[in-house]
């Protein structure tokens, strides 16, 4: 469904991602893991078109997405959440989700200015849709809270909700459980599994929390220093000596410095 082929990203001499190739199959939960600075978020930012790779191609359902601008990506059916929740802080939960519906709504400025019945109708429908998503995330009672007043865990939920409300084909989740406690983590991993099983979404996850990765993933790619060092099912990855070295090696290095 989503294909990376020999993608290289450079920032003024620093190679953040080097010759990365992988393919996310439809209907799967695909995880990218790796130590800090491995280039995982850079991968997401390439898909969202905030960065442009120096070389390589990224195809989504056979279409080259490198030709798109950032705001056009969602029209192809790719939605994302952010590592450091980029929510609209002063808006309510409901409004945040409604912004997520932006690409699907009517565009005519004149009918909006005059608040024609057609605009009222789509507005009602989108509010209904927003409440469905809030039900799914069990945050309905927070609908009219301003997002900045919410605890971090709920903000993450809203961020994910904003990504799924436009019914995308592929959802990118950037560290969905960072900073969450084990109970909240469990909630999110159940949610991700539900997205796959009940709604047939394809999910691409970046995550540090191994309990979540091992529980939800169908397939895992491990990155280190911008390169893919291993891939396979969660069970294979757990036993892979290269992966163990990448993680433990880092610990040893730190130990020496201390």
């Amino acid at each position: 469904m989503l294909t990376f082929k020999d993608v290289t990203v450079k920032f003024a001499g620093v190679t953040a991602v080097k010759d990365l190739s992988f393919e996310v199959p439809q209907g799967n939960i695909y995880s990218i893991i790796g130590p800090n600075g491995a280039g995982k978020t850079t991968v997401f930012n390439c898909i969202s078109r905030f960065y442009t790779p120096a070389a390589g191609t990224i195809d989504f359902n056979g279409k080259n997405i490198l030709k798109l601008k950032p705001h056009q990506v969602i029209h192809e059916g790719i939605a994302r959440s952010f590592q450091n929740v980029e929510l609209f802080a002063k808006m309510t939960v409901l409004d945040n989700l409604l912004v997520g519906l932006h690409p699907t709504l009517k565009k005519n400025i004149f009918s909006i200015s005059l608040n024609l019945p057609s605009v009222k109708k789509t507005e009602k429908e989108s509010i209904k849709k927003a409440y469905e998503v809030m039900d799914l995330l069990s945050i309905t009672d927070l609908a009219n809270e301003k997002v900045r007043n919410l605890p971090f865990g709920y903000q993450k939920m809203v961020d994910i909700g904003r990504a799924i409300i436009s019914s995308p084909k592929l959802i990118l989740l950037d560290e969905p459980v960072a900073g969450m406690n084990p109970v909240e983590t469990k909630k999110i991993s159940e949610l991700i599994l539900r997205l796959k099983k009940e709604m047939n979404y394809t999910v691409l996850v970046i995550e540090h929390d191994m309990s979540l990765v091992m529980e939800v993933s169908d397939f895992v790619t491990v990155m280190n220093f911008g390169q893919k060092i291993a891939e396979g099912t969660p069970q294979e990855i757990q036993k892979n000596p290269v992966v163990i070295e990448a993680y433990l090696g880092e610990v040893e290095e730190n130990a020496q410095i201390v």
Binding site: F50, M91, H102, P103, S113, G153
Partner: protein, 336 residues
């Protein structure tokens, strides 16, 4: 009784009625009516500016320039081309909107202080252009213009102004409540997230400038028709700052806030007219005082009133939310 407070419609109706009856209430006093007209002109402009600054987060400190452009458009089209009123008034918005587009295009690439300087440059240059382009603007002596016969009487024309003000309030309210308004606020809050949710940020930023300039141009046009004369001194940079003050003291990102600000800063200079030289000091003190004690503007007084009497539903929602938090907290303790 409670319902009377929470249901806004009767209040809105009462306000519009008061608006329409104003000329009769003040007994056709020319002075009070002309203050009222200025309130309308500034209220439209303040709302348009608030759309840009309060909702969209794009700074403009040269908005008086758009008022001048609107005024001159009306004067030039009426005097030099002899176009009819019903065509000229919308054109004053359209032409100012085109100027807004030209200003908005660089705004796509600029933000914060840089954008402020660009808009300041615009606000400063418009009166200079008006002063020096003699053949078009009449230079220092300005341009006279006449209203059509069927509106020549002030007591007739004031209803055009009232009607336009009410319609523009309604339109801007619709825009702000729509997906368009949400997109503007989204751009203010996080451009990155706005792009990721499919908002074409450059397009919407430009659109903000065009909409804001359009309505400001109409306000300028109404002013030109009301006074019957436009000159380079009508709207200076001081007006731009006053407009900024209006939306800040009224409360940013609030249409009623912009209107309240416009009323206060139009009436205040009139009240202090006898104290020569003190007007600006009093305006300054008012701005500082409100920023210190009501940083969210006067409109936040209303919201305070609303929070004091939360509906039962809100209380229930809060309880559910709190108990949920407690459970989360308890669960966390158990895990540790």
């Amino acid at each position: 009784m409670k319902q009377l407070f929470t249901n806004r419609k009767p209040w809105l109706f009462l306000l519009v009625l008061l608006f329409l009856a104003y000329p009769f209430i003040v007994g056709q006093s020319v002075y009070l009516i002309s203050i009222f007209v200025m309130v309308c002109v500034y209220a439209i402009t303040a709302m348009a500016l608030d759309l840009l600054i309060g909702f969209g987060g794009q700074v403009s400190i040269g908005h008086a320039g758009f008022l001048s452009v609107g005024g001159y458009t009306v004067a030039i089209l009426t005097t030099k081309l002899g176009l009819p009123f019903l065509l000229v008034l919308p054109l004053s918005g359209v032409i100012t909107g085109i100027i807004g587009l030209l200003i908005g295009l660089p705004a796509v690439r600029l933000s914060g202080n840089f954008l402020a300087v660009v808009s300041l440059g615009f606000g400063l240059s418009i009166p200079q252009i008006a002063l020096n382009w003699d053949s078009l603007t009449g230079g220092y002596s300005g341009l006279p213009l006449a209203r059509p016969e069927w509106l020549s009487n002030d007591s007739q024309f004031i209803y055009v102004i009232i009607l336009m003000t009410v319609v523009i309030i309604w339109i801007l309210h619709n825009i702000v409540k729509s997906r368009l308004g949400r997109a503007f606020v989204a751009i203010r809050e996080s451009e990155v997230a706005a792009q990721a949710t499919g908002i074409n940020v450059p397009l919407y930023k430009t659109l903000m400038f065009v909409i804001s300039a359009f309505f400001t141009g109409i306000a300028g046009g109404l002013y030109g028709y009301w006074i019957g004369f436009v000159s380079p001194n009508d709207f200076s940079v001081f007006t731009s700052f006053l407009l900024l003050g209006m939306i800040v003291i009224g409360g940013l990102a609030s249409i009623p806030g912009a209107i309240i600000g416009a009323i206060i800063f139009t009436v205040l200079p009139e009240l202090t007219k006898s104290l020569i030289g003190l007007t600006n000091i009093i305006i300054g003190i008012a701005i500082v005082g409100i920023i210190l004690f009501r940083p969210n503007g006067l409109i936040s007084l209303l919201e305070m009133f609303r929070i004091k009497k939360p509906s039962k539903k809100v209380m229930d929602e809060q309880e559910v939310y709190l108990s949920d938090l407690e459970q989360g907290g308890a669960a966390r303790d158990a895990n540790v």
